[in-house]
Amino acid sequence: MGPFLIKVRQWAYWMFAAFHLFVIFSFAINPGNWLSVLPERIQDVLISYGYLTGSSSGFSFFAPHVPDEPMVEITVHRKDSQYRFTLGSGNEERLRRVSTMLLQLDQGKGYFEGAVLFGSYVFAHDDTATLVDVRFYRHAVGTLRTRTFLTPTEHTVYVVSFARSSYYVP
């Protein structure tokens, strides 16, 4: 490789590094303000690049506070029986992913949208289900000062029922 091509390649490396750093800091410092002043097309490029490379990911694990854990209990009614389960029970990774989703639903108060998803999930997997009750509740753990870990409490926040062909709220 000739010296000219080496030089070009070197510059390309530096340009890439500068662009990558720009994206990292743009999203980390203040995404809204930084990006809104740019033309929409450039915003799209930056968002896509950040999304593809993970450089736009926000990292605020368990911050600034840890909320009560949202959970969902589903009761499935059949013609002559019924059963109940907690969404996410089973494999740890499954539980983790479902908990993440429930946290998002809880923060956005998207209980009804979530309930529609879970209701249709049950109907898709259980042909004999005629009615599905979806209950959102929070598992409150209390503060360190009160140390209420011995008596964890549950607060129901939303209940909705779906029949196979339509839904109704009791």
């Binding site: 990911s57 605020s60 600034p64 990774e93 992913r97 908990s99």
Partner: protein
């Protein structure tokens, strides 16, 4: 004078985090692909529920919120179908999963490294976009690591050096990875510091008591020692915020790295977040592990008499040095400096 002052102030700082960058990428490749492979096997029984067309979040629901330019499993399905014979969405999902597993095995073994890394990154991204509501930290960490692995020079090409290409590119990539990790810790540390819960210890306590986290090590006894919980909570903030500053300083880098590794190990044991903790540990070790190891060697070299190891490194660093000189250099500063430079010289040869 100003130049000298700045030079003196920055003398303990090692912005290059000197180390063998290619070895760092080997560590990242083996560690990350191993974790992702294990995680894939672990998630196998729930694959349909998590990523399938009729999963807990079905494809249609994910499509509503996903940007049109982002490739998802349903996007792949429609592309495949446009070529003629329609394929069952379940088949597409399972095929993608099989290809992902195969590419991970290749990446782990170091065969067809570049192709494997690109395939893993792309398919990981597809799974990530197809299941956007359930993503958590490990997915973002893995995405970052895989992106760098995709760009990293193949470790099989070590002997085929082109001078500049081999030395600059890994160095730039490693530095970018290091900066990205620093930004990540600064961001998460700051996010914790702005709320009152981490300062009072409540956040830590509440996290430990949540039913979703199935701990290997029980933590209920901590309730009897609120001061300990408070101190741990504050130390988490301090370690995370200090990370981007302290990790570049040779003398304290090792301590900071050990603290952050303990932090992630504790997360694995007390919250059961093994994939998240392990990925974070691999990222940290890839970014700063080798440099920290060299710092440790330098520290040890200062404290003990010259050994055969130093002499060997010395002779490799400066091939022309004669036996007489090699014999006279003991464990002084020169010896340590040469020791820390040796792997880079090695890398270029």
């Amino acid at each position: 004078m100003f130049h000298n002052l700045v030079k003196r102030l920055l003398s303990p700082v090692d912005f290059r985090a000197s180390g063998d960058n290619l070895h760092a990428f080997v560590l990242l490749r083996v560690g990350l692909s191993g974790i992702l492979l294990f995680k894939l096997l672990y998630e196998l029984p729930d694959f349909g529920d998590l990523y399938g067309p009729n999963g807990i979040v079905p494809w249609w629901a994910n499509e509503i919120s996903a940007p049109s330019y982002v490739p998802t499993l349903s996007w792949i399905c429609s592309v495949v179908n446009s070529f003629g014979r329609p394929l069952d969405p379940e088949t597409v999902a399972v095929t993608a999963q099989g290809a992902y597993a195969a590419a991970l095995v290749l990446l782990l073994a170091g065969h067809c490294q570049r192709v494997a890394a690109v395939t893993v990154w792309l398919l990981h991204f597809v799974f990530l976009s197809s299941n956007r509501f359930t993503l958590y930290g490990v997915d973002a960490f893995a995405n970052i690591g895989l992106f760098f692995l995709m760009l990293a020079p193949s470790t099989a090409n070590r002997t085929r050096t082109g001078g500049l290409d081999v030395s600059l590119w890994p160095l730039l990539l490693s530095t970018l990875l290091r900066i990205q990790i620093c930004v990540m810790y600064a961001e998460t540390g700051w996010a914790k510091a702005i709320g009152p819960q981490w300062w009072s210890g409540d956040s830590l306590w509440r996290a430990l008591q949540q039913p979703q986290f199935q701990a290997v090590v029980g933590t209920q006894w901590l309730g009897s020692y609120p001061t300990v919980v408070k101190v741990i909570g504050i130390s988490v903030i301090v370690v995370e915020i200090a990370y981007p500053f302290v990790i570049w300083i040779r003398k304290v880098r090792l301590i900071e790295l050990i603290l952050i590794l303990i932090f992630h190990l504790t997360i694995m044991l007390t919250l059961g977040l093994w994939a998240f903790g392990a990925t974070a540990i691999v990222l940290n070790l890839s970014a700063f592990g080798i440099a920290a190891l060299q710092d440790l060697r330098s520290i040890l070299a200062f404290r003990r008499p010259s050994t055969g190891f130093n002499d060997v490194v010395l002779s490799r660093s400066i091939p022309g040095i004669d036996d007489e000189k090699r014999g006279t250099v003991t464990c002084g500063k020169v010896g340590c400096l040469l020791t820390s430079r040796a792997p880079e010289g090695d890398e270029l040869r």
